[in-house]
Assembly symmetry: C2
Homo-oligomer: 229 residues x 2
């Protein structure tokens, strides 16, 4: 096992799967962190387990009940929009935004990294073809890295942290192509916000639409299992 | 109830109690957030409940098992030092430091605040007479506020967050005096890192020493119940 470790946030979606594989390709051993935040799309956690089996040296699934706070279609009984990307509002940030989610998740990744002696965090956010969440933007990632180096013993003592967002400037098509290049079975990942009880993807939420568009534009077969109609 | 709400991190210690009372004094209704991180000093949670009954409009105790990561005397089986403040190492950051704890806690406070429509966070950190934790320093608080305004829908849409650290420049004696001025019963708060099973304070850990020094320097009776010797 490599002595260079990185904590990778692994949701179970295609983006975080590619992100974990890129961390491995860079020579890191992967400490995969999945947050069980009582998301509606629980099947995501099963996908995270499958991906971690292939790509991670350790995997922690940490329960953290964000439904205690409410405020998002992904953690409460607000309906997940199905009418097209950006169709649920004023062209701003969608109702599937979970308040401060990536801040919370990166903070937990930072906590594990410092405890484990790792100094690299990977997160699969991307700012192109994305859903408009503020905590996927480059300015957020930069601000978090700055914070990390003021917030921690290692940071203030000069053993700084780097936050890697290797998908930052990729389109969904680029990500689908990366998955193919890395030899990943994209079919074991899960992106849908509102899957059927058996895990099949709805095909209509933003996450499904963006994912399908990625495979299509990349000229690749979409391995996603959709709800039969 | 006031319409101005603030999320206050409430550990159950004297500092966070005074912090919550100061938020109320400023006219905020208090959303008190306590993180049950599987800390050794579980009696702290009982103290948080007592304080919230007096000072908070809502109280959430959120389970988050930071022992999954390890790395601190407060969450693992490393011994809590008892030989005097700063005596456990090289004069640097003590073993009771929990990796990235305040980053994680403030992130959760931010998540609740945004979900509740609040724009003010209160945290009882202080940088004088403190234990040397990096995430109690003013530079950390400023960096977190910057991050909060890039991380959230409200932040990027111009409804910014303010992180209040009203104890930042107070000594422990100042804090003991504030508790008296605010009419608080400091005896219901709990600071000790390594209490007896009945909740009595050990008297020797850093938290006990700093707290006792505060009451002594303020010329106030120390209401803490110590282990009988």
């Amino acid at each position: 096992m490599s002595t260079r470790q990185a904590v990778v946030l692994l949701s179970g979606g295609l983006d975080s799967m590619v992100c974990a594989a890129l961390a491995r390709e860079e020579g890191f051993s992967v400490l995969a962190l999945t947050i069980d935040y009582n998301q509606r799309h629980r099947v995501e956690l099963e996908a995270a387990k499958r991906i971690a089996t292939d790509l991670a040296d350790r995997h922690i699934i940490l329960p953290l009940d964000l439904t205690a706070f409410g405020g998002s279609a992904l953690t409460s009984d607000i309906d997940v929009p199905k009418d097209g990307v950006g169709a649920d509002g004023d062209g701003g940030i969608p109702v599937t935004y979970v308040p401060a989610r990536n801040t919370v998740f990166l903070s937990l990744a930072l906590a594990w990294a410092e405890a484990a002696g790792a100094h690299d965090l990977f997160v699969g956010v991307n700012a192109l073809d994305y859903s408009g969440y503020p905590d996927c933007r480059p300015a957020f990632i930069e601000a978090f890295e700055e914070l990390a180096n003021k917030a921690t013993r290692d940071g203030v003592e000069g053993r700084g942290f780097t936050v890697h967002a290797p998908l930052q400037n990729m389109t969904k098509a680029d990500i689908a192509r990366e998955a193919a290049r890395l030899g990943l079975d994209a079919g074991i990942s899960h992106s849908c916000y509102d899957p059927a009880p058996d895990g099949a993807a709805c095909g209509y939420c933003d996450a499904c639409r963006l994912r399908a568009k990625g495979f299509e534009e990349a000229g690749l077969v979409d391995p996603t299992r959709y709800v039969a109609r």
